[in-house]
Each structure stands twice: as C-alpha cells, then as structure tokens.
Amino acid sequence: MTWELLRETLLLEQHNTRLPVLGVAFLGATAGLVGSFLLLRKQSLLGDALSHATLPGIGIAFAVMSIMGFSGKNLPGLLVGATITGLLGVLLVLAIRKTTRLKDDAAMGIVLSVFFGLGVAILKMVERIPGQSAAGLDGFIYGKTASMVWSDFILITVILVVTTAVTIAILKELTLLCFDASFASVQGWPTLWLDIILMALVTSVTVVGLQAVGLILIIAFLITPPTAARFWTNRLGWMLLLSATIGAISGWLGVSISALYSNLPAGAIIVISAAIIFLFSMIFGTARGVLPRYLRHLQLKRKVGRQHLLRSTYEILENSQKNKPLKNLPISMELLRKHRFWSKGELLTLIRQARSEDHIERQPSGELRLSESGFGEASRITRNHRLWELYLIKYADIAPSHVDRDADMVEHLLGAEIVHQLEAELDLSKPTIDSPHTIEPTELGLQSEPTT
C-alpha cells in the first residue's frame, strides 16, 4: 500500500503532492546550478550567512504590511523583505572583509549571528502586534513544503526561471570570476559587480527556498549537490548539469518520501537524500572520488615499481658485460636487491607483478631472466631515463652526478610524444644510449648509482 503511494507520489500522480514535488525539484536544480559557482568561488558558507540574514526582512515586511493594513502574510511582500536584508547582509560581509583585518569566516559569522538574533527579536515583536496573527512565520526557519499552493508555485517557478536564465546568460563571466578573479579584474571585468550579481542570484534561490525547505536547510541545497557533482567531473559544463540533476533528484525524493509519513519534515529528508548522494559520490566519483583516486594511485605505484625493476635489471646486465649488443643473461635476486636497496618483500612483490605481465621469467636455478618482451621494455625504459637525464644536463644545468635522482621521478610520465621531442631536442636517435654519468663497477659487478 505504501509502495503504491510512493510510486504515485514519485510519478506525480498524487494531486496533493504534485505541486510541492515539482516545485522543490525545480528549486533543487536551480540551487545546484547557482551553488556550483558559490563552491568554485570558495564561498559556500556565504549562503549560510545570507539565509540567516533574511529573517529580519521577513519580520519587518510583516510589520510594515500589517501597519499599512494589508495581510501580513502576503508571500511576495515577505520575500521582498527577505531579499532586501539578505542582500544587505551579504554586502556587509563583503564590506567587513574589505575594510578590516577580519577574515571571511568572522565576517560571515558576525552577519549571520547578529542578523539572526535581530530577526528573532523582530519576529517576537511582530507576534504581539494586535489584530494580526504571525503564527507560521517561523515556518521560514524550518520550511513548510506541504503547504505550497498554486500561487506560491507560480511565484517560485517564475523566480527560478529568471534566476536560471540570468545564470546561463552570464555563464562565461561567472566562470572567469570563479577560476581567475584577478585575471578577470585585470581584463577590465567589473569583478565586484559580478560578485554582487552572483550573490543576488544566490539570494533569490535562498529566498524562494525559505518557504520550501527553511533557512537552515536551504544551505544544504546550495552546497551539497555541487560538491557531490565535483567528484564526477573536471569539466564545468558537466558539473553544472550534474549538480542541477542531483539537486532536483534530492528535492524530488525528499518531498515524495516525507509525504508518506505524517511527521517527517520534508526539508530534513531532502538534506539527508542529498547527503547520501554526496557520500556515494565522494567514494565512487570517477574524477575525484576517494576509491578511484586510490586505485589510480595504486596503478601508478605499480607502474613505477615495474619500470624501476626493469631498468635495474637492464643496468645490471650492462655493467656485467662489456661487449655490445647486450645479451639477456639470468641474474640473481641478491644482485637486484642491492642495486636499488629494495627490501626482500618489496622486491618479491615487484617480481610477482612483473611475472604476471610476462616481463620476467624465473629460472629453475632461482635466478631471474628478462623475457623477450621484458627485455625490449627494459631497454626502452632505460633509454627514456637517459634521454631525460641528458636533457636535464644540457638544458637545466643539473650536475651529472645528481641527475639520476631527478630523472628517476619524472621518467614514468614520459609519453611517446615527449620522447620524440626529447630526441629531436638532443639530436639523438640511436636505439641505445650510454649512461651520461659515471658508473663505478665494484668487484661484485654492481653499480653504486645513487638511487632513491
């Protein structure tokens, strides 16, 4: 029975939940869009200061409308009041930051707490204005999604459409502002005004959201979807799209689920839905998620280890035989271990990996021998390493005795294209290159090259 109801609510077949579900989903999408810029501008908590700063405006608007003889709870009137003090609060944050030694966090905290305190004081006062019932004004603190009526819905939709349109119209300018504000201002863009326009966009989303999810939880709508989206992509366009989608989905899910239970506050369920999406994104997000990043790190570590193993083997072969071309002879593990100061465990792991890739074979005697493909790979890697060393010696003025260490870190990232460039730059195209720094063969035949 409940499942049936949930399905109907989600698919908008329920008449009394259709408006809130649609309205809040749309709000989530717009908040996700605008919030992305707030996140990239590193100003996420400004939404927090702003939403708290709207409270005195609501109280004052109520008082003014009551005194002038209108209904104190006219929604457009309240929203105008909220917008005015909200913007005033944000401007104060910018002003405090600009004219004092106080930092962002303090500026936001001051505005947030003082405006909120003032707001509560004013609400308390207007509650006692005779002849008007202010009951329900505190709904703006926690939101009252379910009470959305047709006229509210139209108002919200119009404001959100305008906000989205403006955002898309100045997409290029906002992008510039977020990624390089000082460049933008040098180029002659009015960055202060762009900042103020961005704040105005955030204000309009916040003010609309007050009604739907409340002033504390609207902050989540501005922050969580963009942060979640950031884990999946490094491209702004995709991030905006994804963030808007995540916002819409959390709104849609949140309102639908809360409609099923009589005492679940919609705002809270929306925030929890968004938080679950955030958690999932943080772990699995393909671009910056924790798990993919860890796997990439592991992969790089394996690659580096494999290349070091192959190069070491090749260098040992080189040192132990004078005549060219090099013969692929078996070498002992002990020799290899001393060459790079690997621990036994490290080396065994590396060898296991190299064997699984068919680069190294184990002889019946226990010695190791490069396979056909491993030998080719080893000579290629060693050649790249030396190309880079030569380049550093020639162009970066690094002493030949120190160059090995520097090359050691970068060689793994040399792609085919860079290798070609290096060859052209150094005028080298021989298939093998001798090491540019002296190798001192000891009586064991191993080199004492300074390695990591």
């Binding site: 707490s113 909120f116 003032l118 308390k124 006062m125 963009p226």
Partner: protein, 309 residues
C-alpha cells in the same frame, strides 16, 4: 520601563554565557574557524535527540554527553571530508552540519510524539524564563541567596573554559598563530583543535538549555571579532572580548525594554543581546583605532612619511 530582580538574573545568566562563549570564540577566530561555532551549535541536535530518546528526560548528563559527542563528530567528519575528499573547508562544514541537523530534526519529530521536545525550544531557549527555576545556595533565618539554576550550569562552564585556557594557554597560542611550528615543537595542534571543539560543543550544550543557540553563536564570534579590531595582542584580546561580552548582555537586556517605550510590543532578551553585540561591533568598525572614520580622515590628511613610532 519595568525593571526588576528578574532583569538582574537574566543579565547574570546572559553575561556568564557570553563570557563562557567568548573564551573559545577567540581561538576559533584566530584559527579562522568562526563558522565552526555555528556549525557545531546546529549539529549537536541529533546528539541531544538520541540522548533524549535513550534517557527519556531532559537536562541531564546524557544530553550533555550526547551533544558533546555530536559536536566532536562534526569536527571529525569535516576534517575527513577535507582530507579524503579534498573539499574546501567551508563546503565540508556546510555539508556536515546541515546533514546532522536534518537527522536531528527527524529524530526530534519522531520523539515529539510522546515527549515534549521541539527544535524551536532547543535552538531558541528562553532566557526570560531562567528566573523561574531558582536554586537556593545558602539559607538562614534572616537571609537567603538563590540564583537561577542556569547560572550555576553556565558558571561552571565558564570556569571549565577558563581553566582549560589557563592550563593550555601556551599551546593554544602557538596552535592558533603557527600550527606548523606547534607541530614541529611536539605540541600536537590536532589535539588542541579537538580540545577547542570539545570546549565549543560543551559550551553550546550548556547554553542551549538555558538561553538557546542564538546567544551562543553570536557570543562565540562577535565579541572576539570586535576586540580584534580594538587590540593587537592576545592577553588584551581576551580581556577586551570578555568586557564586550558582558557589555552586550547588560546593554542587550536594557535594549529589550526599549521597544515598549516606543509603543512596540516586547521582545526577546537573547535576540537583543545578539543585536547589541552586533551594534558594538559596528561602533568598533566605524570608530575604532583602525576604523573606517579614522581611515577616511587619514586619507584627508597630508601624506606623512615620518615613520618614527
């Protein structure tokens, strides 16, 4: 104006609370984490709710513990999201505290079916009602001394905060100004960070019950920030912050009696104390030694290249 003994008690509780908050607030300000106070004061809600659901009563050690744990978890989760997710601090904080607050709201709504607890009363408290709940400290035939119960709780918190700051003054100072050096000297700034978070959480909880979160958030941030504009060394920063905190409470209570004089309805003490703190900040901002007015007049003066003193 109706001024009576209740006003004295309200000022007493409000002033103690303001001082108790200003102490950790100074170090939050110096570590550029002022918004953490706001975050923690919202995020303790689920801790309160869970403790309440378990113990079935308000105002006891469980509530205190639950909220303190929730406060520390906020700091911990925020740190994790910053570290593992590479998310900017503000955003991480925003996500954590809104989520915890939402969970708290749901829990409280669930609990509200059978007990009297709502988010409003947790968040806003009622400073006005503190004189109704008095504790007699001392009594004999001729006289007796009674104070509001809230004054005792918040007074204890103030002493706790003062004690921690006196004990770890050097460590806090170093961790606030140069975490890198603190780390190198073996002072463990991370530990100081969590100690500070615990102080904020404990203060928040102690104040919640009596006066609501508005005063907490405002007094954590505004008096230290105001003092920051007036002075430049740590000991005087602490003293000026405490003075401003008390001043906000006293003037705030007086201000709460003003609207009726002008023909408006009465208003709340806590809201007006926060507003007064903001007003004092405005004064310091405009007229302080580095204030806007001074800057303006400096610009008007002839350029002065004498750098002596």
């Amino acid at each position: 104006m109706s001024w009576n003994a209740n006003d004295f008690y309200i000022i007493l509780v409000g002033g103690l609370c303001a001082m108790a908050c200003a102490l950790p607030g100074i170090f939050l300000l110096l570590r550029r984490m002022s918004m953490m106070g706001d975050a923690i004061s919202h995020a303790v809600l689920p801790g309160l709710a869970i403790a309440f659901l378990i113990s079935e009563s308000r105002a006891n050690i469980w509530m205190f513990l639950g909220a303190a744990i929730a406060g520390i978890l906020t700091a911990l989760f925020t740190q994790w999201i910053i570290r593992f997710g590479k998310v900017e601090r503000g955003a991480a904080m925003g996500i954590v505290f809104t989520t915890l607050f939402a969970i708290g709201l749901v829990l409280i709504r669930k609990a509200a079916d059978h007990v009297d607890l709502d988010a409003g009363c947790v968040l806003y408290g009622a400073l006005e009602y503190t004189p109704l709940n008095m504790v007699t400290l001392f009594e004999n035939e001729r006289s007796f001394l009674a104070v509001p119960r809230a004054a005792l709780i918040i007074g204890a918190t103030l002493i706790f905060n003062a004690l921690i700051i006196v004990l770890f003054y050097k460590e806090f100072k170093l961790a606030a100004f140069d975490p890198g050096l603190a780390e190198a000297q073996g002072f463990r700034p991370q530990l100081m960070h969590y100690l500070l978070m615990t102080m904020v959480a404990v203060t928040t909880v102690a104040a919640f019950e009596a006066v609501g979160s508005i005063i907490v958030i405002a007094m954590l941030i505004v008096p230290p920030a105001t003092a920051f504009l007036l002075t430049r060394n740590l000991p005087s920063l602490i003293i000026v912050s405490l003075i401003l905190a008390v001043l906000s409470a006293v003037l705030g209570q007086i201000a709460s009696h003003l609207p009726p004089l002008l023909g408006f309805p009465d208003t709340t003490s806590s809201g007006m104390m926060a507003t007064t703190a903001g007003f004092l900040f405005l004064l310091a901002w405009l007229f302080g030694p580095e204030g806007l007015i001074k800057k303006q007049s400096k610009q008007l003066e002839a350029p002065n290249f004498d750098c002596a003193d």
